[in-house]
Amino acid sequence: MRATFAKTLTEIAREDKRVLLLTADLGYMALEPFAEAFPEQFINVGVAEQNMVGIATGLADGGFIPFLYSIAPFASLRAYEFIRNGPVLHRLPVRIVGVGAGFEYGTAGPTHHGIDDAAALRPQPGLTIITPADALQMRSAMLATWDGDGPIYYRIGKEEKVVVPGLDGRFRLGRAETVREGNDLAFVVMGALAPEVCAAAEQLSERGISATVAVVSSFNPSPVEDLALLAQAHRLLVSVEAQHVDGALGSLVAETIAEAGTASKLVRIGVRRSPQGRSGSQRFYHALHDLSQTAIVERVLSLAAGEPV
């Protein structure tokens, strides 16, 4: 998605000189296409994320549309109060791009994992969060939202090639995209875990369990009505996210079910443990936190067998 981001932003900037790209000294082998095409619209602010957000607030107030690039936890959490008091409080079109959604920075370890950015930012009023499931959807989402009025946090991955079957790059702000229909349960998945969940659904179908898969790629606005409909149509909802279970997708689904008054059961799959010092690949972390295709399948099978969740 990084390369797609840089390519898409370069196209947008060619048409609109208000678009700027600021980076907190990250983006090697990713941002060069933009930096080379528009050196006057590219600023490396140095390793200073909170100042980057403050600078962007002043730039947006002056009529520009600044995109800010850093690794997800630095872009979101390090700069959190500047985001809150800057683009959120002033309702300005600052675009914060956090790369490395979930465990994509695997071996870099817990300081670099984007597993609490969406959860932390979701309470901010008027801050749209966009967390695409693949590069095609990343591009659609950018083209659909880049020139909106308020601030946006784009939570993007590094994967370029893997696509979500049936998604075909569709993106509608505040809507869930159903990519597979089933009767026994509905998976609700956020971000680049979607292909994993689709594969799990396929594997479950071979075991006689038919699952809907709905992809949620935006919060604020959140797809509340779509989720309520899913809850009405399925007895079991399973949310899956490479994120702490409290605050982001799982919480949204839980809130929606409770407020809609439906009788569905919800199982939230996500990060529940603290880091323990041992690091590894993204695959390692997905296995550790029961986010792998295998773990997801086993979880649903145990639910189907009536075992405790």
């Binding site: 140095g46 909170q50 600078i55 002043g58 002056g62 800057g86 002033h90």
Partner: protein, 270 residues
């Protein structure tokens, strides 16, 4: 387009102080000492330095009150310039008022909402860069407290402004020597501030923060320097009210009726 400064004789340090005292007393709130220490800086800015034809002019000079807790002094200044009705000034700290303890940009004349210390200079630097990239001659002025120099983010913005040679950025440091719980020399000493800013690549000088003509001249003289400009303004906390001078408690404390009467008498004599 606003191109030159005009003098506004209605905006004086004494008048700002009188109204600050009146509104503080009426609302029974503190932050009085902090507002009094910047009254003359605001008088210099809004009485002549700033090129602001109206708060709606897109090419007006911008002002960021980074020490947002002194917003009352700014509200009063906007009132004295004729941009804020007296009836609205009287809503200060009331319910459903745009005039809270800290300034909100929804109020005409307030360019940026502030209140959390150490954030204003980043906003100002971004606004200055926006002006330059837009080809506008507008300038950006910011006012920070000396305690805001405790914040690392302030120095991130200082470095950014120097790196990008933001010569349209003008910073006043209200060097009143105290912060919420103590004197800056005891909490986080800021020795040789001019030398520090100079070392960071700024055009820096010390000014008397109560000498309006001197501050006005200093800004005019700085205009041709290609670096961002900082005026380390030596001020007296609670300036004009003897019992507040240098007293920590007047960071938060409201006045009694007797204290108010004495303060008004003393300020009238300044």
């Amino acid at each position: 387009m606003t191109t030159s400064s005009e003098t506004h004789r209605s905006v004086t340090g004494r008048r700002i102080r009188e109204h600050v005292l009146r509104e503080s007393r009426r609302a029974n709130v503190g932050h009085i000492g902090s507002s009094l220490s910047i009254a003359d800086i605001l008088a210099a800015l809004y009485g002549g330095i700033l090129r602001v034809g109206s708060p709606e002019d897109p090419d007006r000079d911008r002002f960021v009150l980074s020490k947002g807790h002194a917003a009352l002094a700014l509200y009063v200044t906007l009132f004295l310039r004729g941009w804020l009705p007296e009836s609205e000034l009287a809503t200060y700290c009331g319910d459903d008022s745009l005039l809270g303890v800290h300034p909100a940009s929804e109020l005409p004349g307030i360019d940026f909402s502030t209140g959390s210390l150490g954030q204003g200079l980043s906003l100002a630097a971004g606004a200055a860069l926006a002006a330059r990239m837009s080809g506008s001659r507008r300038r950006v002025f910011a006012l920070v407290s000396d305690a805001e120099l405790n914040e690392g983010s302030t120095w991130e913005a200082v470095m950014f402004a120097a790196q990008h040679r933001l010569s349209n950025l003008y910073l006043f440091v209200d060097l009143n020597g105290q912060q919420a719980l103590g004197y800056t020399r005891d909490v986080m000493a800021i020795e040789n501030p001019v030398e520090r800013f100079t070392a960071f690549g700024w055009d820096a000088e010390e000014v008397d923060g109560h000498d309006v003509p001197a501050m006005t001249s200093a800004v005019a003289a700085a205009e041709t320097d290609p670096r961002p400009h900082v005026f380390v303004a030596r001020t007296v906390f609670g300036r004009g009210v003897s019992y507040m001078n240098g007293q920590i408690k007047w960071h938060y404390w409201p006045m009694s009726e007797e204290e108010f009467a004495q303060a008004m008498r003393e300020v009238a004599e300044t």
